[in-house]
Amino acid sequence: MLTVEGTRAKRVPRPHSPIRESSSTRPSGIKRILGFAWVLPALVLLAVFVYLPLVQNLGFSFLEWDIYSGSQTFVGAENYIKLSSDPIFWSALGNNALYAGVSIVFQVCGALALAALIESVRRERWRRALRAVYFIPSAISLTVAGLLFYFIYEPNLGLLNYVLSGVGLDALTQPWLGQESTAMMAVIAMSQWQGFGYSTLLFAVAIQRIPSELYEAASIDGIGVIRRFFTVTVPLVREMTGLMTIVTISGAFQVFNEVMVMTSGGPNNSTQVLATWLYRSGFVRNDFGYAAAIAMVIFLVTLIIALAQLWITHRRRVEW
């Protein structure tokens, strides 16, 4: 692990000074410009379809815009003022935060513990089988997983209510997605089922990179399995933990697919998240300026998270 990270620290300055020093003749100016052709397709696609829309979106968020009649009126910050007093916007933001919180518990903390448990299994064949099985839900799409759980939660033919009444818990059977009190948690639970294998796999890779001498030293010192987890495993995968936390939070604020498939934001807007509320405001209620303002909120939140990630990776580089 140390050597791997060490080589990375060393190669940091390299990309800024490619073959120049070693080649005997410095390429002429024209040749250098021609080299531009290599990056041009990527730059053009990104500029036109990623960065330009982002700038346009900021402009749109100051408009009142009916896409069907084509009328656009500049309204200043009105969309943002409307946003601040929109209870559904705030409950959507809260749902995203809830999503992030639950996902950190299961897909970061839970996945780390599970990965350590899997890696403690002696036979490689079993370890590989377990990792692969847990990963399957992440390979099938969120759409398929969402539809599947729509049926599992279904009050009449669903597995969940059937299992509950089968073990004598009839009192707990309910229309999981059909009532405000349980719908959001039901969607989030599906998402944990779908995603925990993915983060477990990544943590397993990180744990495999820990030098085995450290574990041997720990077992010679007579340290128990649980203490070893907290004194060896957790500190040595903390970078992966940091990155997973950020990726998980960022993903939680972009949730769209599973909510759309399972509830479309209902019942009574109780499962709206930022992205579905954006979609509904723009494409259903034809209020595109307002949708653009919601998009700016998503942009700000994900930007802050991404900058935090940059900060962490930068700090890591300096440390090594």
């Binding site: 990056v39 730059l43 346009q56 089922w193 993915y198 990155l243």
Partner: protein, 278 residues
């Protein structure tokens, strides 16, 4: 003392395996239920959900296939294959230019391309719809091809670039001495050496394009241009009462990617690990 220790160890082991296997059941059983329901008749579905199908016939699969799933599947294959090729080549070119060719503003270009990693697709949604309507590309295959390529270039370039940086400089020198142009060096020397990371990026992009929902839902609406994820939800709303057909459609959508994962597992894990944990 020793026996007591191993006795406790055995108990811990039993608990551990109960937990690990229990979790495996929680993962596999719903998937199995989905596959079995694809073989059932509607009435059976409402009976005992644990029961096996009475007869194992493929009628629901055939029905799903004929009610649009074949079209969705073709569109998905087309969009996935073309956007994978476009993304991987454009990203590999960019990675080559950024790591092996001396071009001006190298650092600024790296920032511009990798900065795209930070942007959530939802943020660009409203302007993109307006733009594609203006271009006449709304509700066409081209919309998905362009968007899947543009939005995945940052991640794919990031992975390939990280790999290319580590290839020794001497390779380029040797190729140059042999009289190879930059173009030949890229195709004949560097690209073949990047095979492991190329395979990883291909698998990751296929998983993305096959499963993507937001763009597919907003930018397409007819049966001819919808991909499987969106097609499944329309199958659901059109034939919502014929549940077994929907289950069959879900299985048809899930099988190719699950197979791909198992076949390319080694590369896939490496790609993920390099992409996120490096």
């Amino acid at each position: 003392m020793v026996t007591r220790f191993s006795f406790l160890g055995t108990i811990a082991k039993v608990f551990m395996w109960t937990f690990l296997l229990g979790l495996a059941v929680v993962v596999i059983y719903p998937l199995l239920w989905m596959v079995l329901n694809g073989f059932k008749e509607n009435a059976e579905l409402f009976g005992n959900p644990f029961a096996l199908p009475v007869t194992w016939d493929w009628q629901n699969y055939a029905n799903a296939w004929n009610r649009g799933v074949s079209n969705y599947l073709m569109t998905s294959v087309l969009v996935t294959v073309t956007s994978t090729i476009a993304t991987v080549f454009i990203s590999a070119w960019a990675a080559y230019g950024l790591t092996r060719v001396n071009i001006p503003f190298n650092r600024a270009i790296v920032t511009a391309i990798l900065g795209g990693l930070m942007l959530a697709p939802a943020v660009a949604l409203v302007p993109l719809v307006k733009m594609f309507q203006g271009l006449g590309l709304y509700n066409t295959f081209w919309a998905l091809l362009i968007l899947y390529t543009a939005f995945r270039i940052p991640f794919t370039t990031f992975l390939i670039r990280a790999y290319m940086i580590d290839l020794p400089r001497e390779i380029d020198e040797a190729a140059k001495v042999d009289g190879a142009t930059q173009w030949t060096t890229f195709w004949r020397v560097i690209l073949p050496m990047c095979k492991p990371i190329i395979v990883s990026t291909v698998i990751l992009h296929v998983l993305f394009a096959w499963n993507e929902y937001l763009f597919a839902m907003v930018f397409t609406s007819g049966t001819g241009v919808q991909t499987l994820p969106v097609g499944l939800t329309s199958l659901m709303s059109k034939h919502g009462t014929d549940y077994p057909v929907v289950f069959a459609g879900m299985v048809i959508a899930a099988v190719p990617v699950v197979l791909l994962f198992f076949l390319g597992q080694r590369y896939f894990v490496k790609g993920l690990a390099d992409g996120i944990g490096k």
